[in-house]
Symmetry: C2
Subunit: 329 residues, 2 copies
Amino acid sequence: MKKLINAPDAVVRDALRGLALAHPGLAVDLENQVVTRAALTPGKVGLVSGGGSGHEPLHAGFVGYGMLDAACPGEIFTSPVPDQLIEATKAADQGAGVLHIVKNYTGDVLNFEMAAELCAEEGIEVASVLVDDDVAVEDSLYTAGRRGTGATLFVEKIAGALAETGAPLAKVAAVAELVGARSRSFGVALTSCTVPAAGKPTFDLPEDQVEVGIGIHGEPGRRRVPLASARELAEVAMDAVHGDLPLEGELLVLVNGMGGTPLIELYGVFAEVAAYVKGKGATITRSLVGNYVTSLDMQGFSVTVCRLDDDLTRLWDAPVSTPGLRWGR
Amino acid sequence: MKKLINAPDAVVRDALRGLALAHPGLAVDLENQVVTRAALTPGKVGLVSGGGSGHEPLHAGFVGYGMLDAACPGEIFTSPVPDQLIEATKAADQGAGVLHIVKNYTGDVLNFEMAAELCAEEGIEVASVLVDDDVAVEDSLYTAGRRGTGATLFVEKIAGALAETGAPLAKVAAVAELVGARSRSFGVALTSCTVPAAGKPTFDLPEDQVEVGIGIHGEPGRRRVPLASARELAEVAMDAVHGDLPLEGELLVLVNGMGGTPLIELYGVFAEVAAYVKGKGATITRSLVGNYVTSLDMQGFSVTVCRLDDDLTRLWDAPVSTPGLRWGR
């Protein structure tokens, strides 16, 4: 295993130290692994997310104006514990309640539920949205139902923008649900990731094969197929998305790298995705190309599509200022 | 070779198609491989850069408000040809002259010089700045003198910000020179990159060794050393930088991924770089952590340091809106 780390058990803590030093707008509790905005906004609905580390910039890199108020990074590919989530929820509660944004993995779901119950007992109003956009498989290694992947970024951005307007918790939760319901994802892996504590690749993938429908922790996808062109692999992904939620109208599209794939390849994939969308008569009106919801050093890509409407487009365009996503501010 | 591509000879063209589709603020001439802002600003000094592809988002990803007016991507790790540079220079000339920002590689230098001469004959005022920030080696595979690497981003951002204020060519060129003179870089590779047309890694690097002082095309560095901790490798890089230009005062620091290294590792490296800088009594007042000046799929990092002053800080903070760097607009 060749990694830029000090020790396998220090990877998350070291990255959080770096995050704190690089971004003075964040407050990082290294002991409890909770990242909050340095300045929270009284009276605003708080947004909290979290999950295993290894998906950076998700989630801690999306804390800041226009997105999250707090994030809880667990250990690599390991759910954050309820104590982290409780601390984050308390910090994010500025009197208007808190929205939990939860990717659909069993551990995350259970721990967020436990934290929400305990916070509710202390008088904090908590709503939850479950993100389960990955159409690749029903049920998986860590999930009952569909896995939550790239749409999490869309939910955090759009619900975060609405929360900044002073909207109440019910409305912020509703738009988060709406974005989730209108979003679908599918991923393809060229290589496995390597978890530092394991020291070796999570799975073996022959040099001439790819895994289509890969999960963001290296969970098995739908099948293995021979390595094909970017065009063919984009088609496989888009067929799966389109087969589940037909592409129509104005679309927000994320072509996301899994961590080890360079940008030059992702732009090539985006060109193929755009051609596919055009072929279905739909229009990409907003897009994002880069490494946003990663799987450590995995090579591969995922594509996430959200059907926009005017309100969602306006909220997507609203200013955002986080380490991982920033514009207009 | 496992890559998300259609064909080795189509990688650059396909990526440019994707870039054009993802960023309507750019005008992409696919035939000549020239990327310009869709809307140029009459009377503003034009900034043009370019170089081999494979370093994305550098350079085409830095075209936009507050940075470049045009970029010329060559084939992978291959200098752009004079015709590209001439077209870009003519487009960028809005009556106030054009600054060429050239990384110090022999092919780039020669082709930019030829283009500058031909444009001068047609009455376009052209100034050039040579970026040669990499302290690793004197002379190298493609270079006489030092190689140009991460400081290119600093030069493009800061000179770009000054150009937006309406400053004349001489002043924009002077600040570009100043940034280059105050910046130093050093890189470390954990793995080789693989050029698509070659189909195999550029060099062999045993599983237990790293190359310190690596170039962004995989040029040999200073030496090979056993794989060490992030702290030790950051120290090797920072010793080289500090030994060449002592760290003092307020610093802008880029911890840059070479394309295949995930963000979680880069933040860990940043924590070590910050500790090193603090130990020398200097202060990091601005920073950037991510994949900005890459070497295809190489795993590794580079660190670039620029000594700031109040003017440079203000120009760094000025709004920028490009695919690869965006804030305040």
